[in-house]
């Protein structure tokens, strides 16, 4: 999509309500609000589940939590082993926060030119924050397992000529992790903005396409949350893997 076209359709791209805060620089206030909202929803749902949790027949909310927690636990247990059980809360938190953040944009905002509440995942700040956090944690785990020398040795694994590629491969991990989420959600917002910007005589098509697109966008939200959590576990696995290289 060419930015000129987006400009003609008056579609905001990377447009945020900002504020300058000393020490932190520019803050995207809207992203912070929506992220906080997503966080509160996740914590609220967790609290509600905790209050109502039963060892008997679980309700839908408890079942959702149990399904996610047990499948993440299984993944961690089989890929990383019981020593890395602390990765479970990380992956579960990432999954739920990203999922709720993605789903915040469920309402297309007719009068907003884009989604009613744009997802905070459509802002690189949240995506990078999570991606770089995972990168730092996995790198730390790798150094803990292999030692500093062992960690850097894997950049020089054979063929040594590929050293630059190995470095780029490693640095690309947090970047791709963050940008994958960002791109998908950002594109979802632009799709809605495009559909809303249809001229009045195409308003029926606009509504129909929006109704078709939105559920798909929600599905993308689930997939992205799932991929982010899964890749977190897999990056841990690559990081602590001492055999083969």
């Amino acid at each position: 999509m060419h930015s000129a076209v987006l400009a003609i359709a008056n579609i905001p791209v990377g447009d945020h309500i900002t504020a300058k805060v000393p020490g932190l620089g520019t803050l995207n206030i809207d992203t912070i609000y929506t992220t906080a909202a997503a966080a509160l929803i996740v914590m609220g749902l967790g609290w509600r589940m905790r209050a109502k949790a039963t060892a008997g027949v679980p309700g839908k909310l408890q079942l959702t939590w149990e399904t996610i927690v047990s499948s993440v636990s299984d993944q961690v247990e089989t890929n990383l082993g019981p020593k890395y059980r602390h990765v479970v809360p990380l992956a579960v938190s990432i999954f739920f926060l990203v999922l709720v953040a993605d789903w915040l944009e469920i309402l297309p905002g007719i009068f907003h030119n884009t989604d009613y509440i744009p997802s905070p995942s459509a802002d690189v700040n949240l995506c990078y924050a999570l991606g770089i956090l995972v990168f730092v944690l996995t790198t730390a785990a790798s150094i803990r397992v292999k030692g500093i020398g062992g960690y850097f040795k894997h950049y020089f694994r054979k063929p040594v000529v590929m050293f630059p590629i190995h470095v780029i491969e490693e640095l690309a991990k947090p970047l791709t992790l963050g940008l994958r989420l960002f791109g998908n959600l950002f594109a979802g917002g632009i799709m809605i903005a495009l559909l809303i910007s249809f001229p009045l005589k195409l308003s029926l098509a606009s509504v129909v396409f929006t109704l078709i697109w939105k559920p798909f966008d929600m599905f993308i939200g689930v997939i992205q949350a799932f991929i982010f959590a899964l890749l977190t576990i897999l990056y841990y696995q690559f990081a602590i893997d001492t055999g083969g290289h």
Binding site: T26, I32, P89, D123, L126, L130
Partner: protein, 182 residues
């Protein structure tokens, strides 16, 4: 305070730190309050299920034991019943054998007594016959020779005659018995 393209939207700004802080809050909350509870109820449920399974296993084992005992008791009862029947049969057989033996003995006794009677009668008859035959022989001989015989001669004659007669009678008897047994 809108800033369209104020900076490249792919470059993060200070929001990054705030997002990180929010995420840590969520992570801490879930790790502290939510996940332990989820794991707790899941463990509890698993224990309940495991308990139910082991109970069912126990019940099955008990019912199998009961069945085994029942079968054993049935087998024992059957064996006992068979033994009782055999015992009864054996007793019946014994009783039959005993009465048969008693009857046989009685029969033999009667036969023996009858045989004894017959023998003694025969002996008496033979004695009588022998006495009469002695007198007859002496009388006939005295008539033939025309004089009386002395005591010793009479005895010798009688003995010789009776001995011959008995020999002949014995030979006849043997032939007669052989004929009768055929």
């Amino acid at each position: 305070m809108k800033a369209v393209f104020a900076s490249n939207f792919l470059v993060p700004n200070g929001t990054f730190i705030v997002e990180l802080v929010i995420f840590f809050l969520v992570l801490g909350f879930l790790a502290r309050y939510v996940l332990p509870r989820v794991n707790e109820v899941m463990d509890e449920r698993q224990n309940t299920i495991r308990q139910a399974l082991s109970d069912a296993e126990e019940a099955k084992r008990r019912s199998e034991e009961a069945e085994t005992e029942y079968r054993k008791a049935m087998d024992e009862a059957r064996t006992q019943a068979r033994q009782l029947v055999e015992e009864a049969n054996r007793l019946g057989e014994d009783l039959r054998n005993q009465s048969r033996e008693r009857a046989e003995a009685e029969y033999q006794r009667i036969i023996a007594r009858a045989q004894g009677d017959i023998d003694s009668s025969a002996r008496r008859a033979a004695e009588e016959l022998r006495g009469q035959m002695g007198d007859l022989v002496v009388t006939v001989v005295e008539r033939v020779i025309g004089q009386a015989m002395d005591q010793a001669a009479q005895k010798a004659l009688i003995d010789r005659t009776i001995g011959e007669v008995e020999r002949e009678a014995g030979a006849d008897n043997g032939a007669g018995n052989a004929g009768a047994s055929r």
